[in-house]
């Protein structure tokens, strides 16, 4: 899923400064699953904002509405009535949600309440970690299901750099060395010989480097 984290309250206050009516909108997708921008988080942030403006003695109206997914047009359009009423739309969706609301409501001023971090997984309650670099051409079959593109700090494709020590990356002792993980797993699976092949330069044109990407499937189109 796409993992995001709420911006600090002070920053959010700056983003909506001066608005008399704010539509705070959540998303029922990934951000609900990891509790960053679902219905519950929308209500918590709304309360914080109301409390803040009450203390400041500034009148403000916070409308709240969470849609099933901010990344699909039919759900985003459900926001139309509230968007009309608000001076600012504060989205608690990921970066996709923010943009998709803006795209669907050309006259709305849409701002993000979250910082979108990565495509990742839940390691344990309250801990999420990056797992996919969205590079457009998956090579996980070569590396035992562990991605060096995103999990190696240097995206090395041919083994660990000299900064791998005791299983950790030199960039941060909290980061596992992806190549230590790959090496150990390939060894356990009896496939270490696969790592002896020289992996040629990657075709980054399949990734964001080729320009913004689009997927089209004729079989899904009417």
């Amino acid at each position: 899923m796409i993992v995001a984290e709420r911006k600090p309250l002070e920053e959010i206050l700056r983003l909506i400064d001066g608005a008399k009516t704010v539509l705070l909108t959540g998303c029922g997708g990934c951000v609900t699953v990891h509790m960053a921008g679902g219905e519950k988080e929308v209500e918590v942030l709304a309360s914080l904002l109301r409390l803040h403006y009450k203390k400041e003695d500034k009148p403000i109206k916070i409308l709240t509405q969470t849609v099933t997914r901010q990344c699909e047009p039919e759900y985003v359009r459900e926001l139309a009535d509230n968007v009309d009423k608000a001076a600012v739309v504060l989205s608690m969706g990921c970066g996709v949600g923010v943009q998709f609301i803006a795209e669907n409501f050309p006259k709305a001023w849409v701002v993000p309440a979250l910082n979108t971090k990565f495509a990742g997984a839940t390691l344990e309650a309250g801990v999420w970690a990056e797992r996919c670099g969205l590079c457009g051409e998956c090579i996980l079959y070569k590396t035992g299901g562990i991605c060096p593109v995103i999990r190696c700090s240097k995206s090395l494709l041919n083994g660990p750099c000299g900064g791998s020590q005791n299983g950790k990356c030199e960039v941060d002792p909290e980061i596992d060395c992806a190549w230590q993980l790959i090496h150990d797993r390939m060894k356990d699976l009896g496939k270490l010989d696969l790592l002896l092949e020289i992996e040629p330069p990657k075709d980054w044109s399949k990734a964001r480097d080729g320009g913004p990407r689009k997927v089209m499937r004729e079989d899904m189109r009417f």
């Binding site: 995206s155 090395l156 083994g159 030199e170 941060d172």
Partner: protein, 320 residues
Amino acid sequence: MKSGSNLEKVLTSGQFAVCGEMGPPQSADGKSIKKKAEYFRGYVDSVNLTDNQTAIVRLSSIASAHLLLDAGVEPVMQMTCRDRNRIAIQSDVLGAYALGIKNILAISGDHQKFGNHPQSKNVYDIDSLQLLQILKNMRDEKKFQNGEEMKVEPRLFIGAAANPFADPFEFRVLRLAKKVKAGADFIQTQGVFDVPRFKRWMEMVRDLGLPEKTFILAGIIPVRSVKALQYMKSEVAGMSVPDELIERMSKAAKPQEEGVKIAVELIQQLREIKGVHGVHIMPVMWEQVIPQLVEQAGLLPRPRFEEEQTTPAKEAPAKG
């Protein structure tokens, strides 16, 4: 001869090679390179110019290498994959060769987190192994990475780094073999303090027959204080510094002299190891030590070769 560089001549003639290393200045002070060249000229066979090492902005390794060449010392230009994509790398390699640079060391480069611009974006379009392969193909096949041909190829002596002290230990040698396969003519290792571990690594290197396929230069870092040793032990990933050495240095009345003595002993021990073809001395900010260190290690005089007319790059004959 692949490149006809001095380093290549020393190594292929079977003599024990001595490389130095210099960090370019953090300013536009090109003169400092010529000044530091005095510590190396006649004492080493070639000198590495680091490429923004530890991700700190410095005078470029290409310009530094050219200045050093002007000062009569043969450069080994380092090239990292951190700051350039394959377009810039190949372009800079052509430029470096056109300026007379014949040795290039391909490395992945220190992560920008350690430098003075930690908020920068890194590139890593290719890794050091792929860079080796690109350099080899440019030289031997006259081909760019995309397969297109070039008229005049860079005749380079291609180097790579190896760290016998990093993990996973057993994979280190396999990775070295990969680097040799990719095109490494010579290898420079991380600084060696832990000789027993280095010996174990060399045993594995010999088992794979690598000293017959590439030249291995063992790394030497002369230190002048116990602090430097302690720093390397605790702060530098992939360094192994035995406690005995730290104790010896902390007890030394004259730490500078002791530092030279330790480096001399290390050079002598490494020289005895089968498959070690030379040393690579990295006198981090202590270049003045080079003359006495090389002399005391018994590595003088350095071999000299007749100044032969190195084949100037010729236009490829027209086909057809």
